[in-house]
Every structure is written in structure tokens, then in C-alpha cells.
């Protein structure tokens, strides 16, 4: 055969395999409102940047007549490409081939690209769309999952790992996304659960739809398993692309530097926060009044909305923001908001992203359900995450900083590099109402008019302690600044911290209160 003929032969072979599960299966996939695996990769990556590997891989299963079945690519596509120029390793499960089920060779392809991403120290994106384990392959299929989970764990904190859920992802399969940094879900398309509705019905007699059990909304709002929620696959891919611009390729790099921009003039930092600490406002407006071009890329927008986390840029550098949100549950720390912020702080620390913390919280959420859900253990995560973080850590106390909440929100005592406070900050063991009731209990009880006495004592306490100056007098606050000076002080602090060096005690790893 001449080379020309051989090239034609290659083209023919490729054409055959590129059809995946065939036209009927592709039609079915599209009827479900889903793109095909290959289209997804092409849509996500820079134009013409995708290079595929292991196209001709075939499964080796022999039992249950599997030896007679041809599964193109064994139900998964792997390769490399670029997103806004950044190199990416990617795999996408192909639901049109045996329902994207995971067999041994399917798993080997995935682990191959994972190994590649670790060797080259570049981000890994996994697009999940699979019916689960390929039952015909038995324990080999389980072995495949195990190999993936192991690699997810070793890669954690070394390279960014993104999981895009674009179909079912059930049973053991959910643990790969759960081990990665960010999970993306799409309305009506993503379904994640350990045991599905059918099993629940047979075993427990309870009926629930897939959507209500583990749909995109559920994981974005109730469980917190997902980080980004989109209405369509196209919107989801834009979120993935945007995220990639904020994070570095690996843990030894910094995120890409962008040209600096000023915040938009419509965000007026001095008129966002009401003077009365009992009044709500949207803390995201404060973030947007600080960041370049007033851009803020929020993570886990719908879950535990009493704390806000996400990325913004300051003078072109990526900054991680953690901010109490007075608009929801008065911005308290509770089980979910602690989990949410602690994990994000650890992410920023692992990937060299400075953390700016904006504080305005009344304390912890009281309640039997909170105590019984282990708010002690969960709340401890925030202390742990801030304390162990060695990236630049800067705090701005906007208003309230009461009690344990004050300590937890990157206080000086957890080795914050800079702590700034606005003149309206109230740094105290608790709010004036609560404090006056305890300190002046006897005077209030003995007074002729206890209510009047209570009011007087609250005012007295407020005058004396509800300000930033008691903490500033001890050096717990470095500077009391005007709101309008915030960006200037933050930029200075971040630039000054570029070569920050701190030493940590030698250890294998800590024992965080997971």
C-alpha cells in the first residue's frame, strides 16, 4: 500500500470512530437537549486547538457477548487543547457509546489524560455524561473508578481540576467530581446522586424525581455540591472559560496578570453600607466598588448566600474575596457558610491567590438544628483555613465584627497581614443590646424604669465599645480608613505582599475539622 493509500485508510478509520455511537444515538442525545461529547469539547476549547488521543482504543471485555460489541473510543474522548491560550487536559464521556458507561479501557483513557495533566502541571477538565459503571465488566469497572479517585486526590491542590456535569453522574461516579475543585451543573441536564429514585423507591417506598433528588438546582442551592449553575450548556462553557482566566495553571504559578482597570463609577463605596448595623445591604456592591471594572465572579451564588465568595481582579491580579452578606440571615456564620468559605480559603491558599476578607457579621446562627448539625466542627474549619493560609491575607471590617465571628473572619490573631476598619466598624464581644443586658443586668433590674435604664446602658456601651478604636488601640486593627480609601489601601497591601514569606511547622499534613 502506498503512503497515500495508507493516509486514506487512516481517514476512513477515523471517520468510522468519530461517529461515536452512531446517528441514532446522536439524535437521541440531541433530543435530550444535550450536545455530543465532541461538540462540547470543540465549543469549550479555543478554535482548532483540540488534539485527540486514544481514538482507536477498544475494550477487552469478553463476558456477556461483549466481545461481539464495538464501542468506539470506549465511550470517552480524551485530549489536550487551549482555553484563552491556557493549556488544558480534557476528557468528555460520550453518552452515545454504551451510555458513556465506564469500563476498564474507558477508565484507562481518563487516567492517561489525568497523568498527563499532572506531569505537565496544567488544568484538567472532565465532562461527565455517563450511566455509571459498565456492569458487564464487573470489578474492572470499579477498579477504573478507584484509579480515577486516587489521581483526583493526588492532583488536588497541584493542578486545577474542573468537573462539568452534563448528564447523569450517579453512584460511585459522583466521587470524582466531589474530589475536584469546581463542579459545574446545567438546569435539566445534570443529575447527581449516590442512589437514584428507583432504588429509593424500592428500598424506602419514597417517590422522588431525578430532578428533585439531584438536579442542578438542588446541588446549587441545597447541598452545595455544585459551584456554578447555568441554564444551558453554552452558558456553562462560558463560566468554565471565565474561571480559567482567574486561576493559575498550577500551584507553583500565579494567575495571569490582566491590564489594570478602575472600578465603574456607578459603584459608590461611601454610600452602600447603612450606618445602623441592623440594616441590610448587598455586600457584592462593596466588592464591585473595589475591583477592576467592578467585575466579580461569584462562586456558589445560590448556596449559603449568607457568605459571598468569588474572584475579582485588583490592578490586574486575581484576588479571592470572602464577605459576610447582611442581606441573607444577617450575614451570620453557620454550618453551610463555614464550609463554603473555608474550602474557598484553602483553594486560594493552594493556588497563590491573595485573600481579601470583608467583615460585617453579628456572630453565629443560633439554633438547635445548627448545634446538632455540628456547627462547632464546621465553624472550626474557617479558623483552620485562615490560620494555615500563607498567601497575603487582608481584612477590611466594614461594620459589625462581634464575638467569635470577629476572630474567625481573618482577624489579626489568625495572622492577617493587614487589618483595616472603616470608621463605622463595631469590634466588640457582642452587639450593644446583648452586652448591656449582661453587664448591667443588676442595674437594669433594680431601676425604677428598667426599660429606660436598659436603653441608657445600651447607649453607654455603644459609645464606649462599639467602634474600631478599642481594637486599634491594641494594634488589632492596623488602620482606621475612610471607605473611599479602601481600594488604595488594598492595592498597596497586595503589592507589598508579593514576596510574602512565612514559615510553617513541618508536618505531613494537619487534621482539619472536615
Amino acid at each position: 500500500m502506498s503512503l497515500k493509500r495508507k493516509i486514506q485508510d487512516l481517514q476512513k478509520r477515523k471517520e468510522q470512530v468519530l461517529k461515536g455511537g452512531g446517528e441514532r444515538a446522536i439524535e437521541k442525545q440531541k433530543a435530550m437537549g444535550k450536545m455530543t461529547a465532541r461538540d462540547r469539547i470543540i465549543e469549550l476549547l479555543d478554535e482548532d486547538s483540540f488534539q485527540e488521543y486514544d481514538l482507536f482504543v477498544e475494550h477487552e471485555a469478553r463476558d456477556f457477548d461483549m466481545d461481539k460489541k464495538v464501542l468506539h473510543g470506549d465511550g470517552v474522548i480524551i485530549g489536550t487543547g487551549r482555553i484563552y491560550g491556557a493549556p488544558i487536559c480534557i476528557y468528555a464521556q460520550d453518552f452515545t457509546v454504551a451510555g458513556g458507561s465506564l469500563g476498564l479501557m474507558h477508565a484507562r483513557k481518563i487516567t492517561k489524560i489525568m497523568d498527563h495533566s499532572m506531569k505537565m502541571r496544567i488544568p484538567l477538565i472532565g465532562i461527565n455524561d455517563s450511566g455509571g459503571a459498565r456492569v458487564q465488566e464487573g470489578v474492572n469497572s470499579l477498579a477504573g473508578y478507584g484509579e480515577i479517585f486516587f489521581r483526583n486526590t493526588l492532583a488536588s491542590g497541584v493542578i486545577p481540576q474542573l468537573s462539568v456535569i452534563l448528564g447523569p453522574c450517579a453512584g460511585g461516579a459522583v466521587y470524582s467530581p466531589a474530589l475536584t475543585d469546581f463542579v459545574f451543573v446545567v438546569e435539566k441536564i445534570s443529575k447527581m446522586f449516590i442512589t437514584g429514585p428507583e432504588v429509593i423507591k424500592t428500598v424506602l417506598g419514597e417517590e422522588i424525581s431525578m430532578e428533585d433528588l439531584g438536579g442542578a438546582r438542588v446541588h446549587s442551592e441545597i447541598t452545595g455540591n455544585a459551584h456554578f449553575y447555568a441554564e444551558s450548556e453554552a452558558e456553562c462553557f462560558n463560566q468554565v472559560k471565565k474561571l480559567i482566566t482567574y486561576i493559575p495553571w498550577n500551584n507553583t504559578n500565579k494567575a495571569k496578570q490582566f491590564p489594570p482597570k478602575n472600578p465603574k463609577p456607578e459603584y459608590k463605596i461611601s454610600s452602600i453600607v447603612p450606618g445602623d448595623p441592623k440594616q441590610p445591604y448587598d455586600v457584592k456592591d462593596v466588592i464591585k466598588s473595589i475591583t477592576d471594572d467592578s467585575d466579580f465572579f461569584e462562586i456558589q451564588k445560590l448556596w449559603a448566600a449568607n457568605i459571598v465568595i468569588g474572584f475579582g481582579r485588583m490592578d490586574g491580579e486575581t484576588v479571592g474575596f470572602v464577605a459576610n452578606q447582611p442581606l441573607v440571615l444577617a450575614g451570620v456564620l453557620d454550618v453551610d457558610s463555614s464550609d463554603k468559605s473555608a474550602r474557598f480559603i484553602r483553594y486560594c491558599n493552594a493556588f497563590n491567590i491573595p485573600i481579601v476578607t470583608l467583615v460585617d457579621l453579628p456572630g453565629y446562627l443560633p439554633g438547635i438544628d445548627q448545634e446538632h448539625a455540628g456547627v462547632i466542627r464546621h465553624g472550626a474549619k474557617v479558623l483552620y483555613a485562615y490560620s494555615e493560609a500563607t498567601v497575603p491575607k487582608i481584612t477590611v471590617i466594614l461594620r459589625k465584627a462581634y464575638g467569635g465571628g470577629y476572630i474567625a473572619m481573618n482577624s489579626r490573631h489568625l495572622r492577617a497581614d493587614f487589618v483595616f476598619a472603616w470608621p463605622g466598624a463595631e469590634i466588640a464581644v457582642m452587639g450593644p443590646e446583648g452586652a448591656a443586658n449582661i453587664i448591667f443586668r443588676r442595674e437594669i433590674a433594680a431601676a425604677e424604669d428598667p426599660e429606660e435604664m436598659r436603653k441608657q446602658k445600651i447607649a453607654e456601651y455603644k459609645e464606649k465599645f462599639s467602634n474600631p478604636y478599642v481594637a486599634a488601640a491594641k494594634g488589632y486593627v492596623d488602620s482606621v480608613i475612610e471607605p473611599a480609601e479602601t481600594r488604595k489601601f488594598l492595592l498597596h497591601a497586595i503589592q507589598l505582599s508579593a514576596n510574602k514569606t512565612v514559615s510553617m511547622p513541618q508536618k505531613k499534613h494537619g487534621i482539619p475539622p472536615f
Binding site: 428500598v203 424506602l204 417506598g205 419514597e206 442551592e221 441545597i222 448595623p277 441592623k278 440594616q279 441590610p280 448587598d282 449559603a304 448566600a305 449568607n306 447582611p326 442581606l327 441573607v328 440571615l329 444577617a330 450575614g331 451570620v332 453551610d336 453579628p362 456572630g363 446562627l365 443560633p366 439554633g367 438547635i368 438544628d369 446538632h372 462581634y402 464575638g403 457582642m430 452587639g431 450593644p432 443590646e433 446583648g434 443586658n437
Partner: protein, 105 residues
Amino acid sequence: MEKKTKFKSLIIEGTKYRTHYNKKFEQRTAWEKPDKKKIISFIPGKIVKINVKNGQTVRKGQVLFILEAMKMKNKVTSLINGNVKNINVKSGEMIAKNHLILEFE
């Protein structure tokens, strides 16, 4: 964020804050003190055998009935010494979660 809805109030350490609630907070259930005199199903399943009768005196640790769930036959034992007042199930009956199965006097 639904900015148009009315704010609610949340009291923390004596101070009343104006704010929104989230779904989880709104859906939280009130805590109830466990009552040892009421045997309530912790899982849906089938009552395969009832070992006691109405009015019978039972001792702590005595098997009251067998609840089959998750392919397991669970022996449900009494937490107290006492007299059975009401048995709300029949042998062979399927029951839901949180079903009051049996009560003591």
C-alpha cells in the same frame, strides 16, 4: 437575590436584624424531645412480626416487633419497662417513615 420581597427579622444576641432568610432556614424543622414511650419508625419498611400484645407488660430490652427494611430484619426493642398501650400496626403491614408504631402507658 429577590430584592423586592419584604425583609424579615432575625434576632441574634438581643439585636433584631433586618434581612432575608434562605431556603434551608425557612425549611428547618422544630426539634422535639425524644419520647421513649412512643416507638416511631426511623425507616420505611414492613412489620413482619409483632411479639407483644396490647396491655402486656414488657421489660427494657425486650423485642417488641420486627421491622424489615433494606433487606434486613431489624429487632426493635423496648427502651423502658412498661405496659403496651396501643399497637398501631398489623403483622405484614407496610409502614412509612416517622409512623407511630407502638405506644406505652
